[in-house]
């Protein structure tokens, strides 16, 4: 289940990082925002669960567009480092904004489908099962979107050669905005799914954001299968390593693994050489 979550979040990030070459450090915070919107919708506005998820997706998509327009588009032609720094700024704004609006404590999100179910001898809650099901569905949907639709083709074109794509009449701005929107929305869905299981808190996105980077780099920038695979693998590493070796150091494995991989293959496992 954690693998599925990682996979969705990583998917969003690889779209933005790999295709738009924007290191969206704030991706974890977007995820967190999704959680909070879900919480607000459910608790403060009394939405049903699925409408809340839809609301979170919509709000996140909008936020993604705004962030892209304000924080990243002006820096498009400068070095990646500047985008990185801008992302840090976005990160601060989102995290502090959430604290201002909802307070620094965690919030409990009511479970839409309480209860557990036993499958093949494994007892799991409905919610966790839901996460996996929706995640897989989302991944398939996104994959189909990118591969089979014209817009998906446009996104790939921009990834391969920005100027060429522009020459072909593709509106880069619109593609950027849409990609960001999809990326943010994916994060929002992931958060909505996970919110009833864990608390919604300002810090929920921190680790996840960084781990998403780990996955994306390990899986190769811009590679969707890489992100998905990486997500599930990391989920496994964390859970197994945490369970069998040491719970405290579980994050260290992931990060340490990344440093090691990058040391030997500076552009990631399946990465392309970037000039």
């Amino acid at each position: 289940m954690m693998g599925s979550t990682f996979a969705i979040v990583a998917l969003g990030l690889t779209l933005v990082f790999g295709i738009l070459r924007i290191p969206n450090f704030a991706h974890g915070q977007l995820y967190m925002l999704g959680g909070y919107v879900t919480y607000a919708a459910l608790v403060s506005y009394g939405f049903g669960y699925w409408p809340a998820v839809a609301a979170s997706t919509a709000v996140l998509a909008l936020t993604g567009i705004v962030v892209e327009r304000l924080a990243f588009r002006p820096l498009r032609n400068q070095s990646q480092i500047n985008s990185f720094i801008s992302a840090i700024g976005v990160m601060m704004i989102l995290e502090n904004g959430v604290v201002v609006l909802w307070g620094p404590q965690g919030h409990l999100v009511p479970q839409p489908y309480p209860g557990t179910i036993t499958i093949f001898g494994i007892i799991t809650s409905y919610q966790r099962l839901l996460v996996i099901v929706v995640a897989v569905g989302l991944i398939i949907a996104l994959n189909l979107f990118i591969k089979k639709t014209i817009f998906g083709a446009a996104i790939e074109a921009v990834a391969q050669n920005r100027e060429g794509a522009a020459l072909m009449g593709i509106n880069i701005n619109r593609v950027s905005a849409a990609t960001f929107a999809i990326s943010a929305a994916a994060a929002g869905v992931a958060a909505s799914l996970l919110a009833p299981i864990f608390l919604v808190s300002p810090g929920m996105g921190d680790m996840l954001g960084m781990e998403a980077f780990v996955i994306v780099i390990l899986g190769g920038l811009g590679s969707i299968p890489g992100a998905i695979l990486g997500g599930y693998i990391l989920g496994l590493i964390e859970v197994l390593g945490g369970g069998y070796i040491s719970a405290d150091y579980k994050d260290v494995f992931a990060f340490g693994a990344l440093v090691l991989v990058l040391a030997f293959k500076p552009t990631g496992l399946f990465g392309r050489e970037e000039g």
Binding site: P23, L75, I88, G89, M92, I93, V252, F255
Partner: protein, 344 residues
């Protein structure tokens, strides 16, 4: 460059220096002096960050990790009876060794990858600090870290570090040391290689600059000073938790550097003081602090990439051009003579 012309050119820096030196003697508000002490510590960290970031163009997010190593080193050693003046160099050496190792591993990567790898290292330090309970006291940290041992002066008794004034001068000394070393480094041939790496690494390699060595050098030097001031921080604060190595510190320093002016010696220092003192006066905005920082960061990086120092420079330059232009408004204005030979 002659000393007199140097002074004429940079009189504002000398003025600033005098203010810094006399600050605790003039200001009697203990709280303000405390703020100044903390700011100076951050200024050292920001300045050394600037060495890798501004002058060598590498975006390292590991600085807070080294700060933490320096801090924990001093904390652990002094709480076991070692004198501060021995613990500090030892911690710095340890941090430098770690820095060397990390640098060797990560400096082969470019741009965003390097940033992420160093970020991972920084996070690992925090996690280890929190989890290695026997050594570091876990998340509750180490308490009762003693102040630096008094230094006996030949005829005047001793410098006792319980006094705020002594503490202030200690950190000021660190800052001046850092700036001095950076100054000598940046304005030397080595410094030129660093900037070559920043501006066009491939070209620098092609021309024969050993870019890896240059990057490693600036990385380790930055580590040394960050760890140094980390150790001082631990001793002056008295308690230490893994927060001291957290990524948020690195982000704070990044803001100071960028607001003040990347790639200038004074920039980070100015940026640090500007923001910390501003934040003190804007206590009402404390909750919104990060939002303000975030907005400032985005605005600065988009519109004022050279920070406050850049703005000041542009102003000074405009004034100079204005003064130097011939009064009859002839067509050819004299070329902007920059007697400093290029503002670095």
């Amino acid at each position: 460059m002659g000393t007199i012309s140097f002074i004429k050119m940079r009189w504002y820096y000398l003025a600033l220096l005098c203010i810094f030196l006399l600050f605790p003697l003039i200001v009697t508000n203990r709280y303000l002096v405390l703020v100044a002490i903390m700011s100076t510590i951050s200024a050292v960290a920001a300045a050394s960050m600037n060495l890798i970031l501004g002058y060598t163009g590498q975006f390292s997010l590991a600085q807070a990790g080294f700060f933490g190593i320096g801090a924990y080193g001093v904390a652990i050693l002094t709480t076991h009876g070692v004198s501060f003046w021995l613990a500090l160099p030892v911690s710095v050496l340890v941090a430098a060794a770690v820095g060397l190792l990390i640098g060797l591993v990560t400096l082969r990567m470019r741009g965003a990858y390097f940033a992420i790898a160093t970020m991972c290292f920084g996070v690992i330090v925090v996690i280890v600090a929190g989890a290695w309970i026997n050594l570091t006291g876990g998340y509750t940290g180490i308490n009762l870290i003693p102040k630096p041992n008094p230094i006996p002066l030949p005829f005047m008794g001793q410098i006792n570090f319980s006094s705020q004034i002594a503490q202030y001068y200690l950190v000021l000394a660190c800052l001046l040391l850092t700036l001095f070393v950076m100054y000598r480094l940046v304005f030397s041939l080595k410094g030129l290689s660093l900037m070559a790496v920043r501006d066009n690494e491939l070209l620098a390699e092609a021309v024969g600059v050993n870019t890896f060595a240059a990057k490693l050098l600036s990385f380790v030097v930055a580590t040394v000073f960050t760890a140094l001031v980390g150790g001082v921080y631990a001793s002056l604060m008295g308690t230490l938790t893994p927060d001291a190595a957290s990524l948020n510190l690195t982000f704070d320093w990044i803001i100071y550097v960028f607001l003040g002016g990347v790639a200038s010696l004074a920039g980070p220092v100015i940026g640090t003081y500007a923001i910390t003192f501003l934040m003190e006066y804007l206590q009402a905005l404390a909750d919104y602090r990060l939002i303000v920082f975030g907005v400032i960061l985005i605005l600065v990086i988009t519109y004022l990439p050279r920070g406050m120092v850049g703005v000041w420079d542009d102003l000074v330059r405009k004034v100079r051009v204005f003064r130097a232009s011939p009064p009859s408004g002839t067509v050819a204005a004299p070329a902007d003579r920059d007697p400093e030979g290029g503002r670095i």
